[in-house]
Amino acid sequence: MIRTQISLSEREYRAAKAEAARLGISLAELLRQSLRQLLPGDENKPWMRYAGMIETGEKDASQKVDETVYGNKK
């Protein structure tokens, strides 16, 4: 990891902090994820552009696949 400093407007900072809190991640992780979305992917690994293509807002979405696909028990 390389440490760096960036300057944000107060509005950008507040909005970014609020979004990070909503997702349950740090501000640094939010900025890293945003950069990954923005930057071109590795041309040798075209599948990586699908990484993070959706955002369910749920931390355990992958653990509830059966529930989503097959439904809850009555």
Partner: protein, 145 residues
């Protein structure tokens, strides 16, 4: 569903990983708590295998949560990922049924059971999944390693 690539049990390698639906979802969903792990794993994958049942389950998940467009995007993702799609026929289905009966106290799906069967016959040593059902036969889940 026709198999894209088929690999015989005798060609199994020790580094092969079986990929369950949940791993594909965690890779695609940036809010999932295992997203960072699977992003890292898929960025430098070993030999990967999955089944048409997993693909169908993942596609169904996208149709249920989103729409046709997202479902197609999921299929494009599967086509892009270097994963071997192992054919599933009557023999695999019957073996999976045996496992479902053996673990009848669990809500094991046919997709899960076929995955467990394939990992056993191919001696697959690691399973990419966040679903505890895939750990029933003691193949380590990558989230615990």
């Amino acid at each position: 569903m026709p198999a894209r690539k088929s690999t015989k049990p005798s060609t199994a390698t020790r580094n092969e990983a079986y990929v369950d639906t949940s791993a594909f979802i965690a890779f695609a969903d940036r809010s999932d708590s295992y997203h960072a792990l699977f992003r890292r794993l898929f960025s430098d994958p070993p030999r990967l295998i999955t089944t048409p049942l997993v693909v169908a389950e993942g596609h169904g998940w996208f149709l249920k949560r989103y729409d046709t467009a997202r479902g197609l995007q999921f299929l494009s993702m599967i086509e892009a990922i270097p994963v071997g799609i192992v054919s599933v026929g009557e023999r695999e289905q019957q073996a999976a049924s045996v496992l479902i009966r053996r673990y009848s106290d669990q809500d094991l799906t046919l997709t899960d059971a076929v995955g467990l069967h394939l990992m056993a016959v191919r001696r697959t040593r690691i399973c990419w999944s966040t679903d505890f059902h895939l750990g029933l036969t003691k193949v380590p889940l990558v989230i615990h390693t």
